[in-house]
């Protein structure tokens, strides 16, 4: 007989198991780094403030992974495509000389049509290469970044805020200082125990999460999820799985575009050229740390994963600087963690 006690123990074990060994290690590692940082007298409230800001600014980019994963096209390594659409919206808003919150939302509005079209084309392509979406996506991401390097260098933008003083094309980094820098971060922000809460930023992230949740409770969202989980099941219910995959890809691309604008306004700069190259990997690593797999993802995975991953990065740098003077240690640890987690997730998948 299974006694209730045994069952409860089993449930605890199940919960721990579903939480996953990599996450336990990361949490322990993060707590350890926090402890060390206190020991080294690095101001903890400052660390937490930075973590919150980076959580909010990266959250939407990580959220962009979710529709793609649930639609069955795997991790959205095509994230640079969405990012580029966002950047386009961003520079158009500057070209039109918009400022403040208007500029931010205008940038989003400008980027969405690009994201729709490119997402559709990209989704169409992913349907032709079923089974190796993630490999191909990685290269598509790389290619489009390079292609856009040519575009940026020839783009017919005139605004002195972005263009080179002489010649054609756009600068590598464009300051948003007089435009919409930190419009979200500063909205209703307040200090508590020395921790600065970027209220607007976090609210915006939660709003995006809410939209995603609502979408997955619509008829289309339900069909999309079923298509990702079991395409043959969905087909037998008359669902066009290919269409659903395209919808998922478009959704991911749009979220990627919005995500980079959120990121840019917090960062204070728009970074063009090769900057978007590896952002897909960082976002993928974050959602995987949160507990997602390449077939399953929830909002909780997005929020938790982004927090853990960014928290780790924030605390790693000052700790590493104090412990060893090796300048690139933080960067090295970031690369090891992010690529290690991606590798782990892919290896897990091929195991079943």
């Amino acid at each position: 007989m299974i006694t209730p006690d045994v069952r409860r123990f089993g449930a605890v074990k199940d919960t721990l198991k579903s939480f996953g060994l990599p996450r336990i290690i990361i949490v322990v590692f993060l707590v350890l780094l926090w402890a060390i940082s206190m020991f080294l007298e690095i101001p903890f409230p400052q660390l937490l403030s930075d973590t919150l800001v980076r959580w909010g600014m990266n959250g939407v980019l990580v959220l962009a992974m979710m529709p793609s994963i649930l639609a069955g096209t795997g991790l959205y390594f095509g994230l640079p495509i969405g990012i580029i659409c966002g950047l386009l919206g961003g520079v158009i808003a500057i070209e039109l000389n918009l400022v403040g919150i208007t500029a931010f939302f205008a940038a989003i509005a400008f980027s969405i049509p690009f994201a729709f079209v490119l997402g559709w084309v990209y989704g169409f392509m992913l349907n032709r290469i079923k089974g190796s979406e993630m490999t191909v996506a990685t290269y598509v991401g790389f290619s489009i970044v390079s292609l856009m390097c040519i575009f940026w260098s020839m783009a017919p933008f005139k605004s002195p805020a972005m263009a080179w003083p002489i010649g054609r094309g756009l600068r590598v980094t464009i300051s948003l200082a007089d435009r919409y820098e930190k419009v979200l971060n500063n909205f209703l922000s307040f200090n508590i125990f020395g921790i600065m809460i970027p209220t607007g930023l976090i609210l915006f992230l939660l709003l995006m999460c809410l939209i995603v949740v609502l979408f997955f409770n619509t008829k289309t969202g339900i069909a999309l999820k079923a298509g990702g989980e079991n395409p043959r099941f969905a087909q037998s219910s008359g669902i066009n799985v290919d269409t659903m995959r395209i919808v998922g890809t478009i959704f991911s691309t749009v979220l990627g575009a919005i995500g980079i604008l959120v990121y840019s306004q917090s960062f204070g700069f728009i970074q063009l050229y090769t900057a978007p190259l590896f952002m897909g990997f960082l976002a993928a690593a974050a959602i995987l740390i949160g507990g997602a797999s390449i077939k399953k993802a929830t909002i909780l995975h997005v929020l938790l994963g982004t927090f853990l991953f960014q928290g780790l990065l924030v605390v790693a740098l000052p700790v590493a600087n104090k412990v060893a003077t090796l300048g690139s240690l933080a960067e090295i640890s970031r690369i090891i963690v992010s690529n290690g987690v991606i590798l782990y997730a892919l290896a897990q998948h091929s195991g079943d």
């Binding site: 008829k219 339900i222 989980e229 079991n230 043959r232 099941f233 087909q235 037998s236 008359g238």
Partner: protein
């Protein structure tokens, strides 16, 4: 012991998979040059027996087998296919294992090439020897000649007719000098009639060379043409061993099907055909790989439970899949006066047809989703049920889904921890009920159910069948049940259509004799039965 005379002697062979007995007390003896037939329905234990003989890993990873195998009088431990090969046991596969771009010679001698040493190989080893093509061709020729094959040994495999490929496979086995026993596993399934005749001739030629043959098939007349001794398996047991002269097709058919009429769960209705047909199928052809249907015409009457039976691979599964638009189909299907558009699952569902797939885990379920989401899914998508509308947007009405799921769980008696349990954790029988519940949510007038009891334990089988009977009786639902298990068709159906080679071979009553069923399933004419 006198069994020195036997080239292969299998004694008391048995096998259990996880406490589930699939084979017991099989005895099989082969003399050199004997052709021995093995007949049985799908699942009778033929392939398990062969897996044991070939030391397949599926046997040894599940705890091995019982009994003894002697080859040429010596007890043999066959732990891997390589052991079997070294003992001189060969197999002609149903799917050809040939490399299309290689010549016949190269295929025959693959990995057993004859080589000559050369300068390089003297230094770096034998694997770098030059091929002795002349000697290889000579050997290949010899093997082909044994089969009376005039084809050139240097032709490439690609482009050969299917029948020839089979012969190359056989030639490859014959070329192994120690070959003592050759197994033919359903070799004629992919061949045309004349090719099959050639193959039977070749089998006789091979046996004249002193090689014993085990011939597995369900075509009884082929067995009767070439075999000296015949073993009939049913449900993992050896039900009979006959000499050819002492038996006939009818007896074999009866033995194969067996008088295992399950408990009759409902009295067949004799008057169903008086009703107007509700579904008329005309010239339906379905391209379902492995289950092709060609030119099937069938009338299904309102309120009946009709069974579609037949052996695996004959096309019975294809009928429902074709009508429901899951595989490319041609023909005319009219339901309730309305033409059903083929190749369009939505159209079939819109016209009150519903389908429970034979591939429960592959097609029938979202294994990682909850019971309630599974049950509601198709109704949400096809009929817009359980949705709240906000202008152009929709939101799932979770309360309504929960209520319906609770109702279905109670009505079909689905054993679970609750409507949110994921379906992967359910037992096979309960999973099947979830599939049925999902189909019922569409409020169909006709339900196709394929292989409803596949992979379900005995007790649960009865419950699933009971559910179908109740649906028919309570709601007047017309049920088309496709099953490989004749006994279960006979226990619930009003009429049973038997499909062989993609066609309806005939329609029988559940009360017809075993001989009738056996012959019809084996594709034999039975005018005098």
């Amino acid at each position: 012991m006198s069994n020195e005379a036997f080239v292969l002697d299998m004694q008391d062979i048995g096998k259990e998979y996880f406490g589930n007995r699939v084979l017991s007390a099989i005895n099989l003896q082969l003399k050199p040059g004997e052709i021995h037939g093995i007949v049985g329905e799908n699942g009778a234990g033929k392939s398990t027996l062969m897996n044991i003989l070939f030391g397949m890993s599926v046997i040894h990873s599940t705890g091995g087998y019982e009994g003894k195998i002697r080859v040429s009088g010596k007890e043999a431990q066959i732990k891997s296919p390589l052991d079997a090969m070294n003992l001189g046991i060969g197999m002609v596969h149903q799917e050809f294992m040939l490399i299309p771009g290689y010549t016949i010679t190269e295929n025959i001698k693959l990995n057993r090439e004859i080589t000559k040493p050369n300068l390089a190989s003297r230094i770096v080893g034998k694997r770098y020897d030059t091929l002795d093509v002349v000697a290889m061709r000579r050997d290949a020729r010899k093997a082909l000649d044994k089969l009376d094959m005039s084809i050139d040994e240097w032709a490439t495999i690609a482009g050969l007719p299917v029948g020839y490929m089979q012969f190359v496979e056989i030639a490859r086995e014959l070329d192994k000098t120690n070959l003592k026993v050759l197994v033919f596993d359903e070799p004629t399934a992919v061949l045309t009639e004349s090719e099959a005749d050639n193959l039977l001739d070749a089998m006789r030629v091979i046996s004249n060379h002193g090689i014993a043959i085990l011939f597995i098939t369900h075509r009884l007349h082929e067995i009767m043409t070439v075999c000296e001794n015949i073993t009939v398996l049913r449900d993992g047991k050896m039900v009979a061993q006959r000499k050819k002269d002492e038996t006939n097709i009818y007896e074999l058919a009866e033995l194969m099907v067996g008088s295992r009429v399950g408990e009759v769960m409902r009295k067949p209705r004799e008057d169903v055909t008086d009703e107007k047909p509700i579904l008329t199928i005309r010239n339906l052809s379905v391209e379902m790989p492995g289950e092709e249907v060609s030119n099937v015409s069938l009338d299904i009457h309102k309120g009946e439970i009709i069974g579609i039976g037949g052996l695996a691979g004959q096309g019975k599964i294809g009928v429902a899949n074709g009508i429901m638009g899951l595989f490319p189909a041609e023909g005319e299907v009219v339901f309730d006066g309305k033409q059903i558009e083929l190749n369009n699952p939505t159209n079939a569902m819109m016209n009150s047809l519903a389908f429970v797939s034979e591939d429960r885990r592959g097609v029938g379920l979202l294994l990682d989703s909850s019971i309630e989401n599974n049950i509601a899914f198709t109704a949400i998508q096809r009929q817009g049920k359980y949705l709240k509308k906000f202008g152009p947007f929709t939101q799932l009405d979770k309360a309504a889904v929960r209520q319906t799921a609770d109702r279905m769980i109670k009505e079909l008696d689905i054993r679970c921890t609750g409507p949110t349990q994921i379906t992967r954790r359910l037992s096979g029988g309960n999973q099947q009920k979830v599939c049925i519940a999902r189909a019922l949510m569409l409020e169909p007038k006709l339900l196709f159910v394929s292989e409803p009891t596949r992979g379900i334990d005995v007790g649960a089988k009865k419950l699933v069948l009971q559910t179908l009977v109740e649906l028919s009786e309570k709601y007047g639902l017309t049920v088309v049940m496709t099953s490989s298990e004749l006994a279960e068709l006979r226990s619930v159906c009003d009429r049973i259509a038997i499909v062989t080679e993609g066609k309806i071979a005939g329609i029988l009553k559940p009360t017809d004799t075993d001989v009738d069923f056996g012959l019809m399933m084996a594709g034999e004419k039975h005018d005098n039965a």
